[in-house]
């Protein structure tokens, strides 16, 4: 059963179409990896799905409702939560208070007391590995911990669908493995994930489906191995960079060859 339907979504900023005719469905309980080169519209699509932007064309439907018809602050009450690529902690509050705010006003927030919200927040901080810094102001956190806080805040909303916008950027290899383990755990609890990430290895290992965007259009969709083998994707996603790198290498090689060629003549000069 599909949880989320993205149908013909287009988003225009002035003269620029950041997204065009993007359509796909997200199965309940799946993990969808959203990839594409910089500027391909991944974050814009996240903003459309989470109701921060109203799409210029098309619609996103969740549980039969158009997200665009719902005010931003109601979207989480339907069960859709998100993290921000540029993290937005409430700096003057403690780490635990940050998460508790989500627990107070999220999907189950109406029936949850302040005390219960703090208990829930503490549980989530233990899950994401921030329990030791729970009482510190959020402004003190290091960059990787800020990412963890974003995830904890989103989880505090008791989501059915969780949108993760580059939560693994800036983490080292061990931390990435920890993060993946955390996301798998969240997914096992029945939360559908839509993950934007630049780390290919991470996205391939966690996704059940991958959607590839390039210049605002969907160019491929399917199982990870299948999608990454597609010549279309290599050309649009890896190809341009690959080509440029190859070109640079050729230039360097040529210069080196030239220099070597010059060398023997030098003593005579």
């Amino acid at each position: 059963m599909s949880a989320l339907r993205i149908a013909d979504v287009g988003m225009r900023f002035g003269g620029l179409w950041a997204l065009r005719e993007v359509s796909f469905e997200v199965e309940r309980g799946s993990v969808v990896g959203l990839i594409g080169p910089n500027g391909s519209g991944k974050t814009t699509l996240m903003n459309v799905i989470s109701g921060v932007y109203k799409p210029t064309t098309g619609e996103v439907r969740y549980a039969g409702r158009r997200i665009a018809d719902v005010p931003t602050h109601e979207v989480c009450h339907f069960g859709i939560a998100r993290t921000f690529q540029v993290v937005k902690p409430f700096e003057s509050l403690t780490v635990r208070e940050n998460v508790a705010v989500g627990a107070m006003y999220g999907r189950d927030g109406g029936t949850r007391s302040t005390r219960a919200s703090f208990e829930r927040a503490q549980e989530l901080l233990e899950i994401v590995g921030l329990a030791q810094v729970a009482q510190r102001p959020a402004s003190d956190l290091t960059a990787p911990n800020r990412k963890r806080l974003e995830v904890a805040k989103a989880l505090a909303l008791d989501p059915e669908v969780l949108l993760l916008d580059e939560v693994m950027a800036g983490l080292n290899a061990t931390e990435v493995d920890e993060a993946l383990e955390l996301l798998r755990d969240v997914n096992r609890r029945g939360v559908t994930l839509i993950v934007v990430e630049h780390l290919m290895k991470a996205i391939v290992s966690i996704s059940t489906t991958i959607v590839v965007l390039a210049e605002g259009r969907k160019i491929a969709q399917g199982a990870p191995t299948e999608v990454l083998a597609s010549p279309h994707v290599i050309e649009a996603y890896l190809g341009s960079r690959w080509a440029k790198r190859q070109e640079q290498l050729r230039v360097i090689e040529a210069e080196r060859a030239e220099a070597e060629h010059m060398q023997p003549h030098e003593p005579n000069a």
Partner: protein, 333 residues
């Protein structure tokens, strides 16, 4: 200086959490209880202390919208003035009851703030500030031109006789204690967290399920109710209101400076700032008439530069001047 040592310094002094510093809060509670003794212990200074209490209440009113929610209002005097006029109009109709005065002022001002807030709380930053200033100026003029409000000539209120005058002091004390209590309760509640979340980042707050306009209106209505109550107990004691008294510039600007001095968005800050500034202002006003307003300008500049988080911040300071300078540098960075 390395970032690590700067952030270590910040941790020592930071007002982590929504309550602010507990030591400062206890100091405020004890001082407040001592103020209850003024009519008995220092009867000659009753009027002075009543005025101080009024400013404390106004500072708390401003703190709810300007401090906790982060929407800097330059028009809260409107609510003080309308509160004062509520009492005056009740008195003109033969009702001279402080409880009735406060109840009417709270209802009228909360409703008025919600009505005005609906359009102007959609504005952000400076635009909101300018809009509130516009509202204050407009209401001052409207009231001055309405015969029902006595026009520019004002309205007289029936005052109790000299022997029972301390009733006005106790009324002002109760309103102020109510304002502090309300702030304390709001700060600990879900509501307080909604306000602070909106102040820190409106978009992130909305994504967490907080309806921005709704909670901003609630914050402003609470702010208005407190300022209105302060006006309602001020007017009978003063015995007379006209637009220049009810919408006085001092009642608009002083509470803002007091809150900033004490510590914006904290439970104890407005009290501490208001007590200190009122005291100093009173002394300066005795020695240098008129020049004392200059002093407020100097205080604003000094506080913004040296104590961006207010005096309450200093309560948690350990390690003396060096920690302070370090944390200041960290704050500016």
């Amino acid at each position: 200086m390395t970032t690590a040592s700067a952030s270590a310094a910040m941790r020592k002094v930071s007002l982590a959490g929504i309550m602010g510093n507990r030591g400062a809060l206890w100091a405020a509670v004890i001082l407040m209880l001592l103020l209850l003794l003024v009519p008995v212990a220092l009867p000659g200074y009753q009027t002075l202390f009543r005025t101080i209490l009024m400013y404390v209440a106004l500072a708390y009113g401003w703190n709810t919208i300007g401090g906790y929610t982060g929407y800097v209002s330059f028009g809260n005097v409107t609510f003080f003035g309308l509160g004062a006029y509520c009492s005056a109009l009740l008195s003109a109709h033969g009702v001279n009851n402080l409880f009735a005065d406060v109840a009417l002022a709270v209802v009228v001002n909360a409703a008025f703030a919600a009505l005005v807030g609906l359009p102007i709380l959609r504005l952000k930053g400076h635009y909101f500030g300018i809009a509130t200033l516009g509202v204050a100026l407009a209401i001052t003029d409207i009231v001055g031109n309405l015969d029902a409000f006595g026009g520019t000539g004002g309205l007289a209120l029936k005052t109790v006789d000299e022997a029972h005058f301390s009733i006005y002091y106790y009324a002002a004390w109760l309103v102020t204690a109510g304002a502090i209590g309300a702030t304390f309760l709001v700060a600990r509640s879900k509501l307080g967290y909604a306000f602070v979340a909106l102040r820190e980042n409106e978009e992130a707050a909305a994504v967490l399920g907080i309806a921005p306009t709704r909670y901003k209106i609630v914050a402003w209505a609470i702010s208005a109710a407190i300022a209105g109550a302060a006006g309602a107990v001020f007017a009978p004691a003063n015995g007379f209101v006209d637009p220049s008294i009810a919408f006085a510039e001092d009642a608009n600007v002083f509470p803002i400076v007091m809150t900033i001095l004490g510590g914006i968005g904290t439970v104890a800050g407005p009290f501490i700032g208001a007590i200190i500034l009122s005291g100093v202002n009173e002394l300066l006003a005795r020695w240098f008439i008129k020049v004392h307003t200059l002093f407020f300008g100097a205080v604003i500049v000094a506080v913004v530069l040296l104590l961006p988080r207010g005096l309450v911040w200093l309560f948690g300071l350990r390690g003396g001047a060096r920690t302070w300078l370090k944390s200041l540098a960290a704050y500016k960075a």
